[in-house]
């Protein structure tokens, strides 16, 4: 079956595209400024003016959720970019050269991985200070060993192929072979890794924001919005429900999409 005929894949991809659209144009669609406080209308239930209600400072939740999506996707993609910036070359070099280069790279990655992810990220954020850039770097660094391993495994699968040997026999350099031969043939599993990593990066980044270690108020991603709703959510559940709804509908489809691509790749090999 073609991937684009798989209903689960299509729905998941559609939902993710919708999220990306809202993140890009949300600021423009939002009915109110995300940080405008109105003390006359605090904790209002959803109605026709405030579709998602208001928070304890009278800020419009729809506008805050839309602005939060922009931040969430920004640090998600940013962190994955950092991940691949480090993980992709390390993984490819490890797989291509093997031997002591491989050993050295992988042991270094092991040392990074011997820290619990959340703790390592917290320590990086403590040094770098709590803001968007630190958040992207922290999440990216925490996850880059895992990306490096995945890329290495995927590249090792095709390392012994005849066309790699052919390229070497033609006298192509290591850089060419790695990026023009190894990378394109291992692109399937790397794509799966991209989706999975993006979902984990969003979850970890949102968790840091929930703990107050990331973006600072009045800016808030979905994690920080759930944190802000802590004191009010039993009286005004909408303050917590909408951010939760948005983060869940972004992360679950990413997992499903990765799962479908993975299935598709395995099916393709079996046939």
């Amino acid at each position: 079956m073609r991937l684009y005929k798989d209903p689960v894949f299509v729905v998941a991809a559609g939902v993710i595209l919708l999220h990306i659209f809202l993140a890009l144009f949300g600021g423009w669609l939002a009915p109110f400024p995300y940080d405008e406080m109105r003390f006359m209308s605090t904790l209002q239930a959803p109605d026709s003016t405030h579709w998602f209600g208001t928070d304890q400072y009278g800020r419009d939740m729809l506008s805050r959720v839309l602005a939060g999506g922009h931040i969430t996707l920004l640090f998600g993609f940013g962190a994955v970019f950092v991940c691949f910036l480090i993980g992709l070359p390390v993984g490819l070099v490890s797989a291509y050269y093997g031997g002591w280069v491989d050993q050295l790279c992988m042991r270094l990655m092991d040392i990074l991985m011997s820290f619990p992810t959340l703790l390592l990220g917290m320590l990086i954020l403590v040094i770098a200070g709590a803001d968007m850039t630190s958040l992207i770097i922290a999440v990216g660094l925490v996850y880059c060993p895992r990306t490096a391993r995945m890329v290495r495994t995927a590249a090792l699968e095709v390392r012994q192929s005849a066309y790699i040997e052919a390229a070497q026999a033609r006298g192509e350099g290591g850089f060419y072979v790695m990026f023009k031969e190894l990378l394109p043939s291992a692109i399937g599993p790397i794509l799966v890794e991209f989706c999975i990593r993006l979902s984990y990066a969003i979850l970890l980044g949102a968790s840091f924001n929930y703990l107050g270690l990331g973006v600072q108020p009045p800016q808030a991603d979905w994690g920080a919005l759930v944190q802000e709703a802590r004191s009010t959510m039993l009286m005004a559940p909408w303050t917590a429900l909408f951010p939760i709804l948005f983060i869940s509908t972004l992360v679950a489809p990413l997992h499903l999409m990765a799962d479908r691509i993975d299935d598709h790749l395995k099916g393709g090999q079996g046939a």
């Binding site: 011997s114 959340l118 320590l123 200070g129």
Partner: protein
Amino acid sequence: MAVLGSIVLRLGYTALILACVSLMVFGVTELLPGNVITMILGTDASPQEIQRLTALMGLDLPAWQRYWNWVTGVLQGDFGMSLRMQQPVAPVLFDRMAESLVLASVAFVMVAIGGVTIGLVTALFEGTRIDRFITGIAVIGTSLPEFVTGTVFVLLFAGGLFDWFPPSGYHGFDEGVFEALRHLFLPAFTLSIVLAAYVGRITRTSTIDALRSDYVRTARLKGLPEFQVICRHVIPNAFVPTVTVLFMNIGWMVGGIVVVEAVFVFPGIGRLMLFAITERDWTLIQACALMIAAVYVFSNLIGDLLAVWLNPRLRLSSN
């Protein structure tokens, strides 16, 4: 002998990792922005005062010597003085650690029971609606962060929809076993979900493999009742990977526990660490980070050793 050799090798590796971890934790606090002395004395302290405290805290020593003093202190159970709490770090640290261990243990039991149940049910009903439904729920469960599941549970069971559990706090077993368990239930359940779903998936695969094996076919053909086939032939074989995965992922909970403690205001090591960070209490940050990392490294070690011990094939292949 080879087994013993590999265990010794593994222990040596663990010691090396711990050394790296302690260096990294020390290095982080070296880089910490903000001068500790001005933090304690304030900006208008006299130069003499600054000099006196610098010498008193040993901050005039070179970095390697301070690292050495710190590590030897830690090995003797002395984590230094907290900058904010005006008392030694060690007693507080061990108290909070004990509370976190209680929470993690309850969560571990939940993971074991939940994961095995999910795995067995989905395997025995493979391909049916029940299988698809539970597997779907499990996928969603693994894809949500603890602060989301925790918040949803509070909204559902701790005052929002139903009022069965307290939304936050924990005061230990002094208040009675029932009260303590009521406070522990939601945090532990939140902590267990991701891992239970994962263990469930592993159990499902290994149970399906066992169900399709030759020895199960033989057992059925010789006329054993299905119940006995499952209890005597399927379960013992299917559970080796389950137990292995269960123990190899104890370390995984270490990360989740920080968030869960923040959601449920649970007085464990995770919240102590967060307190240390917001207060910039660097002795406390060092102590918490080292403790959390050490627990993580050791539980991974135990998981690895158990995996070798439980799996005869791994044991033999190391020969």
